[in-house]
Amino acid sequence: MLLRNPKREVEIEGPLTVAALLVRLELNPESVLVICGDTLVTRDARLAHDDTVEIRSVISGGAR
């Protein structure tokens, strides 16, 4: 599995669910979107071994 954004490549054995992936990466599900290919996926979606997955942070912290 290839992870994008932040830019890094991490090889993770699939298949596994989005929820399990976030636990593995120690990421809070509230703080990210998971995009598989071009599609948003929910936490129960199963990711295959050859999927390319973007974990996109949704946290903004600057002044508005």
Partner: protein
């Protein structure tokens, strides 16, 4: 996971609602939350013109998109902050959105129009850049709205932003700030009405909305915001939310329903004491407003060298 409405495949889950949504019904959910926010708080009346504070990020572009979709007369204002590649990319995102959607974008550039930028202001004041940035934005969005005939300034503050600000204010019992923390700040002499139509939607929802609507926003965070207090408060709240979904909404909405009114008098006392800035005429509790003092400290304004007749009475 299935869509709560149509039972088709869901593309996003929202744990505080214990629900998933397909694209069509998630977009509808966002529109309904904004419609409800505007209606409940009388944010925008029919025929009023809205100036959206546009940063090029997910929240401001989503807000602009939602307001135009809901039929409001909404233009954008982008403020060039002079923060290197980040400003270059965020400005490009704002312009690209305006061009693609055929909507009007005003631009103000801090360096070209006011003689300073955020890195210079942070250095001159020896303070965190977010302070100078927030001050510049509050002043200029309001000033441009008044100058160009807009009734309302709309900002992309979402539920997470508001909950984090609330936590910071409660931790220090900032009574005046708590009295002003509301989805609407009414118009007053020298102030346009300020509204936050996204306060019922989380920032994860706003990012999802942009992805699903094909809105190309700047994903990278402002490099000068790294490590600021606001991000720390969000981190704490998201840890709570992960253990107990709905905590952030309960915290914010509970305050708005049962706590805010107790602090209104504290905010009123501060606003009642405002006069006009001797330089620019903006409302201020002192002789010179905070924005002009910031310019002065950044070397962009020499008030002492100004002829007395050029200073406002």
């Amino acid at each position: 996971m299935k869509c709560r409405v149509c039972r088709g495949p869901a593309v996003i889950d929202i744990r505080r609602h214990n629900a998933g949504f397909c694209t069509e019904h998630f977009v509808h959910h966002c529109e309904e939350q904004v419609r409800r926010a505007i209606k409940d708080h009388h944010m925008i009346e029919p025929g009023e013109r809205v100036l959206v504070a546009v940063s090029g990020g997910k929240d401001s572009l989503a807000l602009w998109h939602l307001l135009v979709t809901l039929g409001y007369d909404a233009d954008g204002l982008y403020l060039g902050l002079g923060i290197g590649e980040y400003s270059h990319d965020s400005g490009a995102a704002a312009r690209a959105y305006a061009t693609t959607q055929g909507v009007k974008l005003h631009e103000v550039d801090l360096s070209a129009d006011y003689g300073y930028d955020i890195p210079a202001a942070a250095t001159a004041t020896h303070r965190a850049p977010c302070g100078a940035c927030g001050l510049s934005k509050r002043h200029l969005f309001n000033a441009v709205a008044l100058e160009r005939g807009y009734d309302v300034v709309g900002t992309g503050h979402n539920l997470d932003d508001e909950a984090a600000v609330l936590l910071g204010n409660v931790l220090r019992w900032e009574a005046g700030y708590l009295g002003r923390q509301h989805p609407v700040l009414p118009a007053a002499p020298g102030f346009a009405r300020k509204v936050k139509p996204l306060y019922r939607l989380g920032e994860r929802e706003m990012a999802a909305y942009c992805v699903l609507q094909g809105i190309d926003y700047i994903v990278d965070e402002c490099p000068m915001a790294a490590g600021n207090k606001h991000l720390g408060f969000k981190d704490v709240l998201n840890t709570l939310e992960d253990r107990s979904p709905g905590s952030k909404a309960a915290f914010l909405f509970g305050f708005l329903e049962r706590g805010h009114d107790r602090f209104v008098a504290d905010a009123g006392e501060e606003r009642d004491a405002l006069g006009e800035c001797a330089v620019c005429g903006a409302p201020t509790p002192g002789e010179i407003c905070a924005f002009c003092r910031l310019r002065q400290r950044a070397g962009a304004l020499d008030v002492d060298a100004m002829p007395v007749e050029l200073r406002r009475e």
